[in-house]
């Protein structure tokens, strides 16, 4: 039987058995609608509010500042749209970065077509946004800065506290997408100086389809996405996803209890993986910041070969990873994050992301290190690219037969 190793925890995590157990109770017996006034409804309401308290406590917030959403994408949309439309009379300028998740990037781009002006900041070679660039981009029309806490593709941790301080000094609202960082490193809304913050359940061993948005009390924000009932203090209409909320609460509780110990363990595994991959295989680039990176995150570009081919080969050996290569995204462009970091297209196509989780072991790393070099060797033997030809070819696109989509 093929050995199975899961290395894609930034995509999603397995649901913790205690989370499943807790959710099942609310799927089977405690089925009430939290809005109902009767016994069944009150029981559900109590559980929802307990979950809210757990989420709030984990980020140093007040429970009244937490709104449950259907996940990170909705929370990002809700934060950005809500601030943009509420503060339109004050200005129309939004600042973000080139390496944001599409839930942020595409939302601000959509606002850009509706009369808002958007500045998309560049990043350095490690995928890091500079505080100076944020300061330079601010105008008297700036109403929102939205920069992610940690990048989902390369794991780089951004200087959020400094950016938040700057935003506060200038009276600008600041949102951070903390979907990847929450549960892995400390996330405290006061220490980070944020007004709005996004989290998601399924990245922390909770269920999919549940997330939360923190909105600091007094923030000029109103809901713009859903019109309906008065749930979530009029901030998010629709019957609460009670089992999901309960699951999120339990996942948060477990994440907080284990975070420190787990981060130390994963950092050790991650550092070994990075060290040995770069030692054993030539022409490999570590992507992301060498030290300011998430504890479970290792990402690489393997030169001269393509990411999807590596993923398929790994999967045939039972290893699940991910790639920012074009062929896995349904577009011909490789990852916007890697391109923003200045990595050439042909190198960015060869990206692999390994994101570790609490069930991974030293043996899993051993297995990867055993399996990966022959895969790279086999694909390179098949590739017409090598050190000499790659860069000569990258300068031009004259021979490209797919010019209708190639934007090189």
């Amino acid at each position: 039987m093929t050995r199975r190793v899961y290395f894609d925890h930034s995509a999603t995590t397995p649901v913790h058995p205690e989370v499943v157990e807790e959710m099942c109770r609310f799927l089977k017996d405690n089925f009430g609608n939290p809005t109902s006034l009767h016994y069944f409804g009150q029981k559900a309401r109590k559980a929802v509010e307990e979950a809210r308290e757990k989420v709030a406590a984990a980020i140093g917030a007040n429970p009244a500042e937490i709104v449950f959403t259907s996940g990170g994408t909705e929370a990002d949309n809700m934060a950005i749209h809500g601030v943009a439309y509420t503060n339109r009379n004050r200005g129309n300028h939004i600042i973000t970065s080139a390496v944001e998740h599409h839930a942020v990037l595409n939302t601000v781009k959509a606002l850009g077509k509706q009369g808002f002006t958007v500045t998309i900041l560049p990043v350095d070679q490690y995928g890091m946004v500079s505080v100076e660039d944020v300061a330079a981009a601010i105008t008297d029309k700036t109403i929102l800065i939205t920069i992610m806490h940690a990048n989902n593709e390369v794991g780089t941790i951004m200087p959020i506290a400094e950016i938040g301080r700057l935003a506060r000094e200038r009276g600008i609202l600041f949102h951070t997408d903390a979907v990847q960082s929450f549960g892995k490193i400390p996330v405290n809304v006061d220490e980070l100086n944020v007004d709005l913050l996004t989290i998601s359940g399924h990245k922390i061993y909770g269920p999919k389809g549940i997330g939360a948005l923190y909105i600091r009390k007094g923030t000029r924000w109103r809901q713009t996405l859903f019109h309906g009932g008065a749930q979530e203090r009029l901030r998010r209409a629709g019957t609460e996803n009670t089992p999901g909320i309960i699951g999120l609460g339990k996942a948060v509780e477990l994440a907080m209890a284990n975070m420190e110990q787990e981060a130390a363990y994963l950092t050790r595994l991650r550092d070994r993986l990075i060290r040995e991959v770069t030692e054993k295989i030539d022409h490999v680039r570590l992507t992301g910041h060498p030290t300011k990176r998430l504890p479970n995150h290792a990402s690489f570009c393997f030169e001269f070969i393509e990411g999807e081919s590596m993923l398929l080969s790994l999967d045939l050996q039972g290893i699940a990873a991910s790639s920012g290569s074009a062929c896995t995204s349904g577009s011909l462009e490789p990852s916007h994050v890697l391109l923003a970091m200045g990595i050439p297209h042909e190198v960015a196509h060869g990206s692999i992301r390994i994101t570790l989780g609490r069930d991974n072991t030293e043996e899993d790393i051993d297995y990867f290190l055993e399996v990966m070099p022959p895969i790279v060797e086999r694909l390179r033997a098949m590739s017409p690219l090598d050190q000499e030809t790659e860069f000569a070819l990258s300068d031009r696109c004259n021979g490209c037969r797919i010019s209708h989509t190639c934007r090189a």
């Binding site: 074009a326 062929c327 070819l393 696109c397 490209c400 037969r401």
Partner: protein, 129 residues
């Protein structure tokens, strides 16, 4: 996502490599776009006697390269020129729609190799005459 045939050709690609003294070489795509295919042919008496490929690209790109070499080995140049990207995809029991336009360039690479051979031959014939 991929058919068994695609996975078979991806896992065990046929005719991988180079022909150092190839009669024709064709290359299409660009690494910037994510796929590049290079096909080498050896021609004898108007027949493709040997064919090899090298590919930088996804699983579909490797499988289509492999399949096209299988389809035309031993065929006349005229027959090989008739092979289309669509036929290559069909021979693999289909490709996912998003892969059709970006990965299936194998027949184009083959046609480029044949054109290369024909233009070289034309030059040689001129020199002889």
């Amino acid at each position: 996502m991929y058919s068994e045939k695609v996975m078979d050709h991806f896992t065990n690609p046929r005719n991988v490599g180079e022909i150092p003294d190839a009669d024709g070489v064709g290359q299409v795509g660009n690494p910037v776009c994510g796929d590049i295919m290079k096909i080498y042919i050896k021609v004898k008496d108007n027949i493709i006697e040997d064919i090899k490929f090298k590919t930088f690209g996804c699983g579909a790109a490797i499988a289509t390269s492999s399949m096209v070499t299988e389809l035309v080995k031993g065929k006349t140049l005229e027959e090989a020129m008739q092979v289309s990207n669509k036929q290559v995809a069909e021979a693999l029991d289909g490709l996912p729609p998003q892969k059709m336009h970006c990965s299936n360039l194998a027949a184009d690479a083959l046609h480029a190799a044949i054109q290369d051979y024909l233009s070289k031959k034309k030059k040689e014939d001129k020199q002889v005459n």
